[in-house]
């Protein structure tokens, strides 16, 4: 994706000074913005216009049209495929997601790791999240690493921001044999709506801003913390 929080910029400055020592120090002092708060919901296609208008009013830069994106995501699973399955994270492996902007070939590919939702009473879903811009040979790299392709999809929609909050409204399309860029099969008759914000382990206050924005979108969209494993 095309957006990074400001806290990440700070990290860039810290880390550019010298490498290994500082990244470990940053991890220890918990200032790495690798935590993501997330609220999810959906809006039916016929109400998309109303939602976009409302979001434009609520978000930054309401004087310009919201930025659109068209991403292709390929999800790999990295695990020891020969080892016998045992319960626990080891046999489940790790999901590694590769995103690329179909409409902006000049942007770097993104390698994304998303952890399991944290347990606990947070105002929004909290999970570990890493977005790493990488060179375009990342898929070959992952395959040689031993990861296997699990599934892929297209995401097309709008992206806006309000302060540190990232708002995406997008439609998911299935990919399959014989499907071209123009001929995609939509998953549902709805757009997925996500509010997310990247933060550190020590700064949890932004979750309330997330909730406030979600409340302002009611009853048009019901944004909630949804654990996808329980769906």
């Amino acid at each position: 994706m095309k957006h990074e929080g400001r806290s990440r910029q700070n990290l860039k400055v810290i880390m550019a000074v010298s490498h290994n020592e500082n990244i470990e120090a940053a991890l220890k002092s918990q200032i790495v913005p690798d935590q993501e708060f997330l609220l999810q919901g959906s809006v039916m296609d016929n109400s998309l216009g109303v939602l976009i208008d409302r979001l434009r009013g609520l978000c930054d830069n309401s004087d310009v049209h919201p930025e659109t994106f068209h991403d292709h995501e390929v999800v790999y699973i990295l695990k020891d495929f020969n080892a016998p399955a045992t319960p626990g994270p080891a046999s489940q492996g790790v999901m590694l997601r590769v995103r690329r902007a179909v409409d902006r070939p000049d942007l770097p590919h993104q390698l994304r790791y998303v952890g399991y939702p944290e347990l606990g009473n947070y105002p929004a879903l909290l999970r570990n999240c890493l977005d790493v811009p990488v060179s375009s040979n990342v898929r070959e790299f992952l395959q040689e690493l031993g990861a296997k392709l699990d599934h892929e999809f297209m995401a097309k929609g709008y992206i806006m921001k309000k302060g540190r909050i990232k708002v995406t409204v997008f439609k998911m399309y299935k990919m399959g044999p014989g499907m071209t860029k123009e001929n995609l099969e939509p998953m549902t008759m709805s757009h997925l709506v996500e509010l997310s914000v990247l933060t550190t382990k020590t700064d949890m206050s932004v979750a309330d801003d997330l909730r406030a924005l979600a409340d302002q979108l009611k009853p048009l969209v019901q944004l909630e913390r949804i654990d996808y494993r329980r769906v």
């Binding site: 550019a16 490498h19 890493l130 790493v132 040689e144």
Partner: protein, 215 residues
């Protein structure tokens, strides 16, 4: 970014600082200007399980010349893939530890002073592996060109002028394979990994104190 060539400078005395001092003096005689320090470090990760096709290695390299980039070089034995990634890739590595684990004792780095001589950039590095002195590695970069074929003879002549006969007249194998391609920062890093692997297999000189030349 130009074309880079790496050269191991033989250190018969195995003391490190005496030889780097010698190189420093020679290069200063060529009207060089010292311009800061550099470090290239390399961590190696090996697959934990013996999954079918043998052990895969992943070398994680940082170069102070490209401070926002982490290079991940995957070596499957038959194939090499180099990924250039944002430095945040380092944070991803602990997530892969069910498959790849770091060989701490193989952590190796080349560190030293950087000089400018006209269109050339010379980096005289002292190589240490987990604290032990391993040798001297010199990187020479020629800025005006990006194709090795067009500047190799010039570079060889320049390298021989201060390193002498240790510079072979033949093109190094790595460069030979990409003689007519555009040289990228990935190529530089891959050469470092190649040389680091040579050092790892070579003898360790104990008791020496690695140091950069004082300017």
């Amino acid at each position: 970014m130009g074309v880079s060539v790496l050269q191991i400078f033989p250190d018969a005395s195995r003391s490190g600082c005496i030889e780097t001092e010698k190189l420093h003096k020679r290069i200063m005689n060529l009207d060089a200007v010292q311009c800061g320090m550099f470090t290239v470090d390399c961590d190696s990760y090996y697959t934990t399980a013996q999954t079918g096709g043998g052990v895969r290695k992943m070398h994680i390299v940082h170069n102070t010349e490209t401070p926002a980039t982490t290079y991940a070089i995957l070596d499957t034995g038959s194939k090499q893939v180099t990924l250039s990634a944002d430095y945040l890739f380092d944070l991803m590595l602990p997530r892969l530890d069910h498959m790849y684990q770091s060989k701490k004792n193989l952590k190796i780095e080349s560190k030293g002073a950087k000089y400018e001589v006209g269109d050339f950039v010379v980096k005289i590095g002292t190589v240490t592996m987990s604290g032990h002195y391993k040798g001297i590695l010199v990187e020479v970069e020629y800025l005006p060109s990006v194709t090795p074929a067009l500047c190799w003879s010039l570079m060889r002549e320049f390298m021989q002028s201060f390193m002498g006969s240790c510079v072979k007249p033949t093109v190094p194998p790595y460069l030979q394979n990409k003689f007519h391609d555009v040289h990228t920062p990935q190529d530089t890093v891959q050469q470092y990994v190649e040389k680091f692997n040579e050092f790892r297999e070579g003898p360790t000189f104990t008791g020496a104190t690695p140091s950069a030349p004082s300017s």
